[in-house]
């Protein structure tokens, strides 16, 4: 393909896009919706999965000491806990340590850095288990120990995350398929509109001996631009949405236990998947619209 043609195809594609402002807008909108929904569910699944992995690797149960106990009394529980079966090791964590490690998790949250008091945390033991499958029994045994008020086993939570991940995955796959088809359909119709607008030009190009490839390119570019624009817009929307949700989770009393994977770690795959899917939708839509011009 000659170099001067590429600029021509690009300009034609762009001008096609603007000549159907509303349809192009709709096509980009539906692509954005498709990518955002896909992205959101995928990111939920990614986070649930990450959470699950941390929990599993920690292999750890927290046993909270009765708040009326003094520090010495609390420390006295150590040997009793160590003697339980299925307990591999026991580590005492004071209120102050608990606060420090919590703060370390959120270095950017000024609120946590300045306003926290150790009193809102409880003394606790981090109990490492030998066999994760016996978590239930060990948790029961820990609860029976005098002075242990509460045990935070991750079993229920991890089951929760598994459910979230599975639902997110299923919903994600179903939605993606539907939205993918809808997006391609809408882009295809947008471009069919352009080909209808340009039918005279297409007829003349064929008559003077333009190749099918030449006739097709501007429409492929149009689809490509629509898809790419949709991908770029959804990327930034997804980013904003993600940050907002992450902030919401971090500041929510019950949810702050969840550690959200930072967007910096995710933006490359998100950008790649959005870009790839957007372009696939755009080019796929345009190819389906110009199928009839593929014939001689």
């Amino acid at each position: 393909m000659a170099k001067h043609n590429i600029g021509y195809f690009f300009r034609e594609g762009m001008s096609n896009m603007f000549s159907h402002g509303f349809m192009s807008f709709a096509a980009i909108g539906i692509t954005v919706a498709c990518l955002l929904i896909m992205g959101t569910f995928s990111l939920v699944a990614v986070n649930a999965d990450a959470q699950l992995k941390t929990l599993e690797s920690e292999n750890e149960v927290l046993a909270f000491v009765n708040e009326d106990y003094t520090e010495d009394q609390a420390k006295g529980l150590q040997s009793e806990l160590e003697n339980l079966s299925n307990v591999a090791s026991v580590q005492y964590i004071s209120k102050e340590d608990a606060m420090a490690s919590f703060q370390a998790q959120y270095p950017d949250e000024q609120m946590f850095q300045n306003n926290l008091k150790p009193e809102i945390f409880r003394d606790r033991y981090a109990v490492h288990l030998k066999d994760l499958h016996l978590t239930k029994e060990t948790v029961a045994a820990l609860k029976d120990v005098e002075g242990i008020d509460d045990v935070n086993a991750y079993e229920e939570i991890s089951n929760g995350f598994i459910t979230v991940r599975n639902i997110a995955t299923v919903v994600c796959v179903a939605l993606i398929l539907i939205l993918f088809v809808v997006s391609i359909f809408i882009i295809s119709n947008t471009i069919k509109l352009t080909t209808f607008d340009r039918r005279e030009e297409i007829a003349i190009m064929r008559m003077v001996g333009a190749t099918n490839g030449f006739i097709r390119w501007p429409f492929v570019y149009e689809g490509f631009m629509l898809g790419l624009l949709g991908a770029v817009i959804s990327f930034f929307l997804q980013w904003a949405l993600y940050e907002a949700v992450a902030r919401g989770v971090a500041t929510n009393d019950t949810l702050q236990l969840i550690h959200i994977v930072s967007f910096e770690q995710l933006w490359v795959p998100v950008a790649a998947v959005f870009g790839g899917t957007g372009i696939l939708i755009g080019v796929g839509g345009s190819l389906s619209a110009i199928r009839k011009f593929l014939k001689a």
């Binding site: 005279e200 003349i204 001996g209 333009a210 099918n212």
Partner: protein, 230 residues
């Protein structure tokens, strides 16, 4: 070089438009194709451009076997033809210049070639000062000359015109014919379909007359047969 051998064309609805035509047109010839309405003239043109595929027979156009041509070859064959229609088929939202540059681009001409070629062709058809007009700002005769310029601009070896004078008054038609003859003198093969007896009779050119899908006469000068309306 155009060569039709025992060509037949039956449309899908069963109309026998062409019933065995054999016709040779050498390079550099000027030929009028005449005949009554419905005799099959446009069908022949569409067979030559590869728009239609004959039901039987063989068609060669400028070295391409059009009757069996592949999708890849068809555009190349069409680049050897410049086609002019009765209804001009200009793009109204493009200027005269852009109507021409558009078809040059379509066959891969570079911007430099385009800048060089278009003024020459516009000069030839006498529209040099109308380059930046839109077709709607031109008279019918001027529009038809733009259509001719467009057919010429890619430097085809053969010009094919289906009723190019249909919408023009007699003076404009005559002017147009003179232009096509001049183009022929510059080396192009020219095939013109027309109804206009008066016009054909003014020139001593080869006239092929068809009726009912068959050639009924092929001679120099003179429109044959009294049954021709138009």
């Amino acid at each position: 070089m155009i060569r039709l051998t025992d060509v037949e064309m039956e449309y899908e609805n069963g109309t026998d438009a062409i019933r065995g035509i054999t016709l040779n047109i050498a390079d550099g010839e000027f030929v009028f194709l005449v005949g009554p309405s419905g005799s099959g003239k446009s069908t022949i043109i569409n067979l030559l451009t590869g728009e239609l595929i004959p039901s039987a027979g063989r068609i060669m156009v400028n070295g391409f076997a059009v009757s069996t041509i592949s999708g890849k070859q068809l555009p190349l064959m069409r680049r050897t033809l410049g086609v002019i229609f009765q209804d001009f088929r200009l793009i109204e939202k493009k200027t005269v210049y852009d109507n021409l540059s558009f078809v040059m681009r379509a066959v891969g001409a570079s911007p430099k070639e385009i800048r060089k070629r278009i003024p020459y062709v516009l000069e030839l058809v006498g529209l040099k000062d109308k380059a930046l007009c839109h077709p709607t700002e031109l008279s019918g005769g001027e529009q038809q000359r733009v259509a001719i310029a467009r057919a010429l601009v890619n430097n085809p070896t053969t010009i094919i015109a289906d009723e190019p004078t249909g919408n023009l008054d007699p003076d404009r038609s005559l002017e147009l014919m003179r232009l096509l003859i001049r183009i022929n003198e510059l080396g192009a093969t020219v095939v013109i379909v027309t109804h206009e007896k008066e016009l054909v009779n003014r020139f001593e050119k080869r006239v092929v007359t068809i009726d009912g899908g068959k050639i009924i006469s092929d001679q120099i000068g003179g429109y044959v047969g009294g049954t021709i309306h138009g």
